[in-house]
């Protein structure tokens, strides 16, 4: 059964304090081995704590992906800004960058040695697979969000094929399909309003 649409959920809870924001983001940032953080953030911010709703999250995710920069950092800035303004944005960025940066400098080589151990290596590979699964769930939600009209469906399929089969880079795909998608959505919304 798909989960209920955002409108049928109870109203969002109060916004997190700066401290909560930092601890939540830092904890998730330190749990991610090899990607999948947007999935972690979705599970925590939208589904578990309900600090922001799904539409807002997907808007932030889409903008974060299309702008330059590390996706996780962009999304943390976006979520932090949404929850606590400028201070939230700074705390958000700091939370996903500073703790892992300290860790990688201090015990990066140790982690590399540990991961050569078969048992640890298997567990880390399992964490990575699970994190990829969380990414997949966010990708599917964004796809569902886009599947309301024909053109977005076509753009979704072309992006997928362009990336997987033609090995086109993200900037090329964003530069090609971004303007088309935005222009068509704009025309549709202006017509609905006018």
């Amino acid at each position: 059964m798909p989960d209920p649409s955002p409108s049928s959920l109870p109203p969002p809870r109060p916004r997190p304090s700066l401290g909560e924001l930092f601890l939540t983001l830092a904890r998730l940032g330190l749990t991610s081995f090899g990607g999948g953080v947007s999935g972690l953030l979705h599970a925590e911010f939208v589904r578990r704590r309900r600090w922001i709703d799904e539409d807002e999250f997907i808007a932030g995710l889409s903008v974060s992906q299309a702008l330059p920069g590390v996706n996780v950092a962009n999304l943390a800035i976006w979520l932090g800004y949404r929850c606590q303004g400028l201070a939230g944005a700074i705390v958000g960025l700091g939370a996903v960058v500073v703790p892992p940066a300290i860790l990688i400098v201090l015990i990066g080589s140790l982690i590399l040695q540990l991961s050569a151990n078969p048992a640890v290596g298997t567990f880390l590979a399992g964490i990575a697979a699970a994190a990829i699964g969380l990414s997949l769930s966010v990708g599917l939600r964004a796809a569902r969000h886009a599947m309301r009209h024909v053109v977005p469906i076509v753009i979704f399929v072309l992006t997928l094929v362009g990336s997987l089969v033609l090995h086109l880079s993200a900037p090329v795909l964003v530069a090609t399909f971004g303007p088309i998608g935005i222009a068509l959505a704009w025309r549709r919304y202006s017509r609905e309003q006018g």
């Binding site: 972690l40 940066a101 567990f123």
Partner: protein, 182 residues
């Protein structure tokens, strides 16, 4: 090079790359390697591969590779300067967009941008999922664990860390089981 010119070289290398990383840090990896191995000779090929491997297995964004580069060539100041150089330019841009976005809520252009970019974001994410799983350790077990975790998020309100641990445990059990069953 003295310390100050090392720090300036770090800024000159990483700050421009900050604005070229659309779709994740992987896109500028080749540029980083060219600069720090080929141009400045700060690392040998083997040395670069070593810190690259560390950045892959350590928690946090893979882009923290630049933190390690800064640390190795100029200590604490180098780590700070390199990290700030790669994150600040792109972060200011995101912040500017977030500001404008929330300053004028509910406008047609916002809905248009969000809806127009969503299918591209979805395509990029799912494409990266497929290519990560195709090269993941464990083959079908990785696909199964990832699929199971994704399905679980549509069923129950489980926290992300619990999901990671459950998925990783299932992965480990299946890996051990396939070894035993030969």
């Amino acid at each position: 090079m003295n310390k100050d010119s090392l720090l300036l070289a770090l800024i000159a290398t990483f700050a421009p790359l900050s604005l070229m990383t659309i779709g994740g840090g992987v896109t500028v990896l080749a540029d980083i390697q060219r600069a720090v191995v080929g141009h400045y000779h700060w690392f040998t090929d083997a040395g670069f591969l070593q810190i690259f491997a560390v950045s892959r297995v350590a928690p946090g964004p893979g882009t923290l590779l630049v933190t390690l580069i800064g640390w190795h060539i100029a200590g604490l100041a180098g780590a700070l300067v390199a990290t700030l150089a790669i994150f600040i330019p792109s972060s200011l841009l995101v912040l500017a967009v977030a500001y404008v976005w929330h300053r004028y809520p509910g406008l047609v252009w916002q809905k248009a941008v969000a809806t127009g970019l969503a299918p591209i974001a979805a395509g990029l994410i799912i494409a990266s999922v497929v290519s990560l799983l195709a090269s993941a350790r464990g083959g079908w077990i990785a696909w199964l664990a990832a699929g199971g975790v994704a399905a679980a998020t549509f069923q129950a309100r489980i926290g992300p860390i619990a999901l990671l641990v459950l998925g990783a445990s299932a992965y480990c059990l299946l890996s051990v089981a396939t070894i035993w069953l030969g």
